[in-house]
Subunit: 338 residues, 2 copies
């Protein structure tokens, strides 16, 4: 059902299973105790970085199946995307399965986009069980978007660190689990930021737009949620989001948590403005936030993943950075009685 420009599901749909796998550096940060698996070998046993990322994504998906006691044939559809050119991280992982596959691209907002679409397929009766998966890998992203690592190029203070991480969820029609109840599809917002090393600033206006629309459409306030989670604005973008929302009369300070800021200890781990990459918010959703809903520490959260829709070439062509933020509302099973 449409509510303004937001969507409410016919009934809350359980996220029956979820899994998170991260790399070594992510496994040394403040969130290290929350992930299902920390893999110290960045190659994941493969011969190229791109294969490594596919392997990471495939591994996380298999773990989500395993944790939910599902077989591959229990899943009607797999929705996935990543940052690698032509999303090969996802399609090369999907070819290991025989599951109908929808490729999506939302940059670092991909976990919210794929989770929301999975919810729509299930809620609309088009699927009994759909999985949503995404990943990022420090080395595939660095090679593609920035400098060869061996150059040792210095990073600016506003730069974020692409996480080697993946998250996978399975959304089902029925069951006992945290539930997705609806959400809001993001608009492409571009206020003219051209610095590809300051994606937090580029993405903050998109996050503000989506969060505001959702609060207005649902007539709710920040205090109605235990957390309003963004991913991944980092510390620069998070401050800007607070400012942008305050100007609209919304104070998010108490409820706001940003996956980019949670992932690393920026002082000890030299990660500057915070973590980023599709896998950052995906692994924290699956490792940190969904378990908190499962154990009823949280009743209701908004998960608003942000993405910077640039390519490696577009800033060099003088383009500014269009950004997007997709939002899903997730409740504990008790709260929504799904």
């Amino acid at each position: 059902m449409k509510i303004g420009s937001s969507i409410r599901f016919n009934k809350p749909r359980p996220i029956s299973s979820f899994a998170s796998v991260v790399g070594k550096k992510e496994g040394e940060g403040p969130m290290k105790g929350y992930f299902d698996e920390i893999v110290p070998d960045p190659t994941f046993g493969e011969s190229t970085w791109e294969r490594a990322e596919s392997q990471l994504q495939a591994k996380t998906f298999q773990l989500a199946l395993q944790k939910g006691h599902f077989q591959e044939f229990d899943i009607d559809c797999l929705i996935a995307g990543d940052l690698i050119n032509q999303c090969t991280g996802s399609s090369f992982a999907a070819k290991k399965t025989k599951i109908p596959f929808l490729g999506v691209y939302g940059a670092c907002s991909t976990m919210a986009e794929s989770l929301f679409l999975a919810g729509i397929l299930v809620d609309g009766g088009y699927s009994n069980r759909t999985a949503a998966v995404t990943s990022s890998h420090f080395s595939t992203a660095e090679r593609q978007f920035r400098f060869p690592l061996s150059y040792g190029g210095q990073r600016t203070p506003t730069a974020q660190w692409t996480c080697t991480a993946s998250g996978a969820v399975v959304v089902s029609a029925e069951g006992n689990a945290p539930c997705i109840t609806g959400g809001c599809i993001g608009k492409v917002v571009d206020l003219g930021v051209t610095d590809a090393s300051n994606m937090g600033a580029a993405m903050a206006p998109a996050a503000a737009d989506t969060i505001l629309r959702y609060l207005q459409d649902t007539k709710t306030k920040p205090e109605d949620y235990d957390a309003v989670v963004t991913g991944d604005l980092g510390n620069v973008g998070s401050l800007l989001l607070m400012d942008l929302l305050l100007k609209q009369g919304v104070n998010l300070k108490e409820q706001h948590q940003d996956c980019g800021m949670l992932m690393f200890d920026e002082q000890k781990q030299d990660t500057h403005a915070g973590g980023s990459g599709c896998g950052c918010s995906a692994s924290l959703l699956c490792g940190y936030f969904l378990p908190k809903l499962e154990h009823h520490e949280f009743r209701k959260i908004l998960f608003a993943a942000t993405g910077a829709l640039l390519s490696a070439m577009s800033p060099a062509q003088g383009e500014s950075i269009p950004s997007i933020c997709h939002l899903v509302e997730i409740t504990s099973q008790e709260e929504s009685s799904c």
Copy 2:
């Protein structure tokens, strides 16, 4: 509703408006009389090829709005994708609008993927009106996937020619128009083809898989359709598709039409195995097939767009080419009384 691994909508959903725009070469081929607009200037008035493609896509979308007498605010959601790295062709076009945006990636299958998702959003009651748009541009694709044009590198006989073309549709909840009635989400299929200049061979098994599953799920035969349209297998892939289906007891010869083969006169236009690119099947769907359904020359077609899910780097890394084919069923308004 699920039927096997296919989906049937609650009711047929009208494609209320559609538009096609192509470049000079496409406008000199055998289909030249069918497109809404032929633009001889490949730059579309812009300073880079990537901006040119965004402009082409934005123009086609605006034309679809105009033809349907819609304003931007009539559209709840825009679903789009293209071949450029990080899908900037689509996101840079979408930022000119204020419409909630879902980015998808299905390579040349994107028109079927985005149209199917648009149908699902509308049929499920999540949107009153969703647009699906895609594009490709010869010069963005050549630069990215193959050689700089100025090298004058020779193309192999199995190579296809990326079309400068775009198609846009608007799917509505109610109305008089050709209707989408359901479809089938493709699986990623990879039989080991590693030649990036022979994408027809890579994609044919994916097309066979999806078409077979749909015919089986719906208990229909090729003769139940006026056309089973693939895009874009070209002449190499089309022959392979016929073979693969014949081995499964399905003779598609009478009904099969391939957008890659329709687009160009391969002898006169030196396009080798045929056209390709997201815009090839999109512009022919919107320029040729939907009007035939609108004018009741056709009653029912299957539109099965195929995509090769490679990157410019993956074949160089020794990877084979995973492919996918998404299918939608479209009927004339009379046939489905939608």
